[in-house]
């Protein structure tokens, strides 16, 4: 029975309708989660005993860094599904991830630099965590560049899928870099086994922000994937229907 779900999800008209319907159901919770996370993080959480109010950068830095990795995994996984099952929806999802992922990777790096300056005394250091995160940005940019260089959308999908899948080895390297090597960067406080090493007043706003950014990403992905689906399905009959162009010939 699981395959019924898989086939329906893989059906472009079904996915298009579902994505249209689901977008506000992720967008509104995302806004509420981020708003409450911001209030909790900027106002309610106590200052850190070492970093004072400077630690509050975490409430934008950690969600940006989380998205930079999570979006890459979604991009690579859907690229693999597209390659294996030749599924148009999967390619549309994969292609939708790159701009979002690249911008949040750049944001994670920028907020990290602004945090590093007062705490470490430097904006940049060729440190394992920072260097591997920079490599992630180049992987996203390489993916985008490769797609732009190929005119045929089907060939662009297949070629960029291979790049995305190969690059996924960088994701665990980024995550474990702070454990495997000596790094200026702190070890994980939340994304690890065992209890988070943070008091609840600091942790809860962070979890709200992480959940909010994740829901925001899903909403963005659903919007973008619809557009990518239209680009790949332009000769399909369902497109006219989905755009409401059946009756008049224009919309």
């Amino acid at each position: 029975m699981a395959w019924v779900w898989f086939h329906r999800f893989g059906s472009p008209p079904h996915f298009y309708r579902l994505a249209t319907r689901l977008t506000p159901r992720f967008a509104w919770p995302a806004a509420l989660l981020c708003l409450s996370g911001l209030i909790g993080g900027l106002v309610l959480a106590p200052p850190d005993y070492q970093q004072g109010d400077g630690f509050r950068i975490i409430y934008v830095h950690a969600p940006a860094a989380w998205l930079s990795l999570m979006v890459y995994v979604v991009m690579a996984a859907s690229a693999a599904v597209g390659l294996i099952w030749r599924m148009t929806v999967a390619y549309a999802v994969s292609a939708s991830c790159a701009v979002i992922g690249a911008s949040f990777t750049a944001l994670a790096l920028a907020t990290g630099m602004l945090w590093g300056r007062p705490m470490w005394g430097t904006y940049w250091e060729w440190d394992p965590r920072l260097t591997s995160e920079l490599l992630l940005l180049f992987l996203y940019l390489g993916y985008l560049g490769l797609r732009n260089a190929i005119d045929d959308i089907g060939r662009a999908d297949r070629a960029s899928a291979v790049l995305a899948i190969v690059g996924v080895v960088n994701v665990p390297i980024i995550h474990y870099s702070v454990i495997w090597w000596n790094s200026l960067h702190q070890a994980p406080s939340v994304m690890k086994f065992g209890r988070p090493t943070m008091p609840a007043a600091m942790l809860v706003p962070l979890l709200l922000m992480l959940a909010g950014f994740t829901a925001y990403f899903v909403a963005l992905l659903l919007i973008r994937a619809r557009g990518e689906l239209l680009r790949r399905e332009r000769n399909a009959r369902w497109v006219a229907e989905a755009l409401g162009a059946t009756a008049t010939g224009q919309g």
Partner: protein, 54 residues
């Protein structure tokens, strides 16, 4: 209020982080909507031209 904005002396690092985040969040919404609308407009033009021929 001024104390809040000063952020214990970290204002010049902290607020740019939040401003950059707001910019990236806002721009991504704009880019996503623009990408969808461009694809929809393109698909509509194609449907219209196919109808005109047939």
């Amino acid at each position: 209020m001024l104390k809040f904005l000063a952020m214990g002396g970290y204002a010049r690092y902290l607020w740019p982080c939040y401003a950059l985040t707001a910019a990236v969040v806002g721009l991504n919404i704009r880019w996503a909507l623009r990408s969808l609308r461009a694809a929809q407009a393109q698909a509509r033009r194609r449907i219209a031209s196919v109808r005109a021929v047939s």
